[in-house]
């Protein structure tokens, strides 16, 4: 294959924008969660109460999606800068996506299964 420098993948803006929007979602959720946790009774029941309301479950779900997408773009950007061989980078992309999806599964198990 000819060793040509190729650019022009026609994406970039979407990811850049989503990374900023997800940062906003994470910030808002973190403030709400911190306030609710600070106001909650210490102990299992108090903490459970923090995440029990339906709106809080929705907010946590949005927060989780935001973390995953934000982390994906951030980690992919690191690979773009430091990992040059295409095969290694593709393998790392795959592993990262699998790890992030596994983390999502872990959160579901932890928060919503009990």
């Amino acid at each position: 294959m000819v060793n040509r420098i190729v650019t022009g993948a026609h994406y970039g803006l979407r990811d850049w924008l989503i990374q900023r929007l997800t940062a906003g979602v994470m910030l808002v959720f973190s403030v709400i969660a911190a306030l609710r946790i600070a106001a909650a009774e210490p102990g299992f029941d108090g903490w459970k109460g923090v995440f029990d309301p339906a709106w809080m479950r929705v907010a946590l779900f949005l927060f989780l999606l935001s973390v995953l997408y934000h982390a994906w773009i951030g980690v992919r950007d690191i690979y773009m800068d430091y990992v040059k061989p295409v095969s290694v980078r593709l393998a790392l992309h795959t592993l990262t996506v699998l790890a992030l999806v596994a983390c999502a599964g872990g959160v579901f198990e932890l928060v919503w299964s009990h």
Partner: protein, 231 residues
């Protein structure tokens, strides 16, 4: 005055080294470029670029005490007793303080740095309103010295794909030009994970620009226009 100067002549040296000089300066040697010319009168093997000696041509960009700048508009007095000079980082060294700027100009040319207008050429010039002309202030003054791009970590990591602050400033200069008709094509060309979006707003470019320009702001404005086009 003590100098440590990066020396490398690929015809003679196996690898680069720093050479120490201790030379007396004359009272007229006010600028770093004057001191360099004085230094060259002591050692004529030292190679560096210079031309206009007043901050207009951008030839004598170099890394001065760890910071990119133009030798001709940097005063010796502000640099202390020991001056360390290296070539601007991230580009291949041809010899001593002279770098190969092919990569830099390839990025510059790729943004089509000229007005693209398919209307028939008018009898006289293409006119702009004073407001439209004002948009170009802070953009057209760039002298392409490469101080900004070669101080940008994103350019160091991906010099072949990320266009760098200088080329992106020039790209916005023509996107912002009311006489240009190729805005969509220009934005399409920048819609790429490398060319534009390797910029992480580190702002080294703003910090070192000898003309006081703000490439980060120009890059932000390109992103604003892209968002405006998308939503």
């Amino acid at each position: 005055m003590r100098f440590s100067v990066y020396r490398y002549n690929p015809d003679v040296d196996a690898k680069p080294y720093m050479q120490e000089y201790d030379i007396p300066l004359e009272p007229t040697d006010k600028m770093l470029l004057d001191a360099l010319i004085r230094l060259k009168s002591h050692d004529d093997t030292l190679a560096f670029r210079r031309s206009c000696r007043e901050g207009v041509c951008g030839s004598d960009a170099m890394n001065i005490n760890g910071r990119n700048g133009l030798a001709c508009i940097t005063t010796v007095a502000e640099l202390g007793d020991h001056i360390t000079l290296r070539p601007i980082p991230g580009l291949p060294v041809i010899r001593d303080l002279i770098v190969d700027m092919t990569q830099f100009f390839r990025a510059y040319h790729s943004v089509k740095p000229y007005v693209i207008n398919n209307d028939p050429a008018p009898e006289t010039e293409r006119l702009q309103s004073p407001e439209d002309r004002l948009e170009l202030d802070g953009l057209y003054e760039c002298i392409l010295c490469a101080c900004c791009s070669t101080s940008c970590p994103s350019f160091w990591w991906n010099p072949d794909k990320f266009l760098g602050p200088a080329a992106l400033l020039q790209s916005y200069r023509f996107i912002a030009d009311s006489r240009d008709q190729a805005t969509n094509e220009r934005l399409d060309d920048l819609e790429d994970p490398y060319k534009l979006f390797r910029c992480h707003s580190i702002m080294n470019c703003v910090d070192v620009c000898p003309k006081g320009l703000n490439p980060t702001r120009a890059i932000g404005k390109i992103k604003d226009i892209m968002i405006k086009r998308m939503v």
